[in-house]
Symmetry: C2
Subunit: 517 residues, 2 copies
């Protein structure tokens, strides 16, 4: 650190959190002349006060906490990190510094260069406060530091300044939030509601950091995989004029002097993009379901990874593209995020996710036969309940050793009006769901691309035609046959990791009982 | 095409659009034995009928229309495309086939292999219908075909089948919609409302295809650029419990037995992600403004490209990162989408977009001085109106030859409560807007990361504290100083291309008067 920067730091330095006046600083400077040691101490620790961008401090270079290791032995570095834990005894203090998922040990020894006051000050900084530390890196011999991710080196404090102080009483402890909810150790853990009420703290746990790194990966691989196959990214409106898919489960919005609705899916718009010659499109966006379902896997708002694709002759061209895309995502996640997957599994143990390639495709009647052989009473054209889906997942896993599969040819009666019927057997349809660990993550189908037939099917379903006229009209001017599907992002994240609740896979989940924070 | 596929095709072939019954087909087969020529004709053209995925037709290989060129001379290929235009005279017909932005000529000559009936059938297919064509590629000598993008080769028809028929009367003609609204040729053109009412047809124009290819590019480069700088993609809720930013211009949602609101920006949630240790985040998502503004640049729903970033000492670390990100986007667009930019400029002429690197940064008082020197009466702490912003854009362009610049240090009084005041002059703030062609595309600032100070500022702005308590609480447990901003995707697209209306840059725009299609 250069001389001028040190002086600036001294200008800012205070004992405790209060900013010093010019007068006080002048007084201090005079005192410093008399007592070098005291003045040094003032420069060595304190609080910056509110960082209001008064100064660029371009001459301060920071090292990432995760880069602390034995190769830096003997170097002095600056690190910005949180205080994760503090232990002090007599003339020594051990702190754990944390930056995101990484932790490193910080040591303070009272001596020639470090005053008693400084140790007291640093040991008194509240947990979760953010500090700037100048420290000397020291190689650690032997087995290394068990309690930290940075094992073969630690920091010996030279200067410590508070960047942002945390309140001394936290509504939850990061260590507690890092334990599983059913931890057998007897140590306290944090229930889901407390977590979500204090999400900002909960997000700091290694597990939450890992979950959302993986979730960002799902989106990235989804996009990359589809872009490589010639898909264009689009954006579709969330405010729509009519509750298009029958009117149930839709949120109403006050729209100036009238009213509107929140889209339950981008599907009608994706299809219109196909009719508008985009050929292959995907979109990642919020979808809304006004469903009063308080389960482990329903939210009122979630992220949809949607795609739609024109095909030449058979919707399997699309279905298999989606299957390949998901497998591509799984493979990339397992490769890139192996550490994160382990981190999550420590808090929420789960069997590793397995899948076969190409994706297993089962026909609906085959699934019914498997279920009946396992004792389930179910009709040919009956939709499966959630427990039955899970049972099927277990049967498929036992027989094919895959946690991912495609179920093709759903009964026409259980699908939306725009679903293309099977050409050979009118009881079935050209539609499919995809499953992970026995739970649905995608629903898709060939759509009816003929306006007259679509009108007929809408009537059959009792849908008010005037509400969907612009959608139907889209197919009057030539439209290629097409199919697509919508993937629930949080479901993919949850089921890939084997989490027990979808809310863990949403930054700020929304359900019938929660719209805050 | 293999023999079996030909037979299958014959099974499907019909004259006109009606599917043949088995009986009729049998009758036809008998007739065929008597009259080879007639039977051949039936196999050579017709309609597939509704493509319902009865058959995979794996042995049909298609060539992309854009790949038709002289190097394929003498080859027979299958192409799927729309009928863009048709001209027939006696024993000859010229058609223009179109697939997305590419066009190619299709010729039919009545002769040994092509019946009069076939020519009549093909010439009678309505414009915008989608057809499968088997054709012989013929090199075109000389200057090539002026009216098509594929200039040095054409197709000579062998077989033609209708995949999806368009209604004969179109609500707008693609040629008309491809002309500028102020075209001087006297030929008819299409006004914006007609375009948007029939968006599915309008999207088929080369200009619309180009605009949305470019828009997808903006998102891609935004993400790539930030990912390379260590940003994590996140998703924030659109349904929120309170109208956080003062209550104006917010849409209300019926939420089960209560009510909720639509988020005007992801900002509070981005900041909570920073307090939750994500360090650097971005999100692309819908934002909603219940503003009754019927202008060329306002929509009630648009896409926000938002980012938020912790910094060490000065918010310029963030501001300059955003500037670099935008410049990176501009450079990549000009490189990758040069053809698309030309296409758009043909319909909507505009000066090419220019910018300097690094981005020009002006301080607010400097801008005020420039405006005053140009005759504008404006107070020191007064916000700029849209015309004044545009005037400033012209002055900046004249002086610095850039269509992009950053305006830093806005008066505190005109910014939201969470904006960090300037440390040295309380009249100003650590906030900035960014401009393209004199119009705002981004608003951003250092945010107050201290709960006590944030509370004080919220009170000062008369904001009901209980409505933003969870937001304020986020800053109680240590939060790094941070800044960010939100970019309007459609504005970037519009202003990069110099379009005159933002609705052209939204697939299905939403404004106070339009929520359909």
């Amino acid at each position: 650190m250069s001389e001028s920067a040190t002086t600036e730091m001294a200008d800012l330095a205070v004992d405790g959190e209060k900013k010093m006046s010019k007068k006080e600083l002048n007084k201090l400077a005079k005192a410093a002349k008399k007592n070098e040691a005291k003045a040094a101490a003032v420069r060595m620790y304190g609080s910056y006060g509110l960082i209001q961008s008064a100064d660029e401090k371009k001459d301060m270079e920071y090292t990432e906490l995760r880069a602390i290791n034995a190769s830096l032995d003997g170097k002095e570095i600056w690190v910005r990190a949180r205080i994760h834990a503090t232990r002090s005894k007599g003339k020594t203090a051990f702190l754990v510094l944390r930056h995101r998922v990484h932790t490193a040990q910080l040591m303070l020894f009272v001596g020639e260069k470090l005053s008693k006051q400084m140790l007291k000050f640093v040991a008194g900084i509240s947990k979760e406060s953010i500090v700037d530390v100048r420290g000397l890196v020291k190689k650690v011999e032997g087995e290394g530091i068990a309690s930290c991710t940075q094992k073969d080196a630690e920091l010996h404090a030279v200067e410590v300044f508070v960047v942002s102080a945390a309140e001394p009483r936290l509504p939850l402890q990061i260590e507690d939030a890092s334990r599983g909810e059913h931890d057998a150790s007897g140590l306290s853990c944090v229930n889901l509601d407390t977590r979500l009420d204090n999400r900002v703290l909960d997000l700091r746990t290694p597990t939450a950091q890992a979950i959302f790194a993986i979730q960002a990966g799902v989106c990235r691989y989804f996009r990359n995989c589809l872009a490589a196959r010639g898909f264009t990214e689009i954006h579709t409106p969330k405010i729509i004029s009519a509750a298009s898919e029958g009117g149930a489960n839709v949120f109403q919005v006050t729209y100036f002097k009238g009213s509107a609705y929140l889209a339950q899916s981008p599907q009608l718009y994706k299809q219109m993009a196909i009719a508008g010659d985009f050929d292959r499109v995907y979109t990642i966006g919020s979808v809304f379901r006004a469903e009063d379902s308080n389960t482990h896997r329903h939210m009122t708002e979630f992220m949809g990874l949607d795609l739609e694709m024109a095909f030449k002759h058979h919707y399997h061209e699309v279905m298999l593209t989606i299957g390949e895309t998901l497998i591509n995502i799984f493979k990339n996640l397992q490769e890139e995020f192996d550490q994160e997957i382990l981190t999550v599994a420590q808090q929420y143990p789960a069997e590793p996710f397995v899948f076969c390639e190409p994706a297993l495709v089962l026909k609906f009647p085959e699934a019914i036969a498997m279920l009946r052989a396992d004792g389930v009473e179910i009709g040919d054209e009956e939709d499966m309940s959630t427990p039955v889906e899970k049972q099927l997942g277990r049967l498929v896993k036992a027989k094919y050793n895959t946690d991912f599969y495609i179920l093709d040819k759903f009964p026409l009666a259980v699908r939306p009006f725009y679903t293309m019927p099977d050409p050979k057997d009118g009881r079935y349809s050209n539609s499919y769901d995809m499953f992970m660990r026995g739970e649905e993550i995608l629903s898709g189908a060939q759509r009816i691309h003929d306006a007259a037939f679509l009108t007929e099917r809408a009537k059959h379903h009792g849908i008010a035609l005037e509400q969907i006229q612009s959608y139907i009209d889209s197919f009057k001017y030539g439209c290629p046959p097409h199919a697509g599907g919508g993937i629930g992002l949080e479901r993919v994240t949850m089921l890939f990791l084997g989490l027990h609740n979808i809310r863990l896979a949403s930054l700020f989940p929304r359900d019938p009982k929660r719209i805050t924070p």
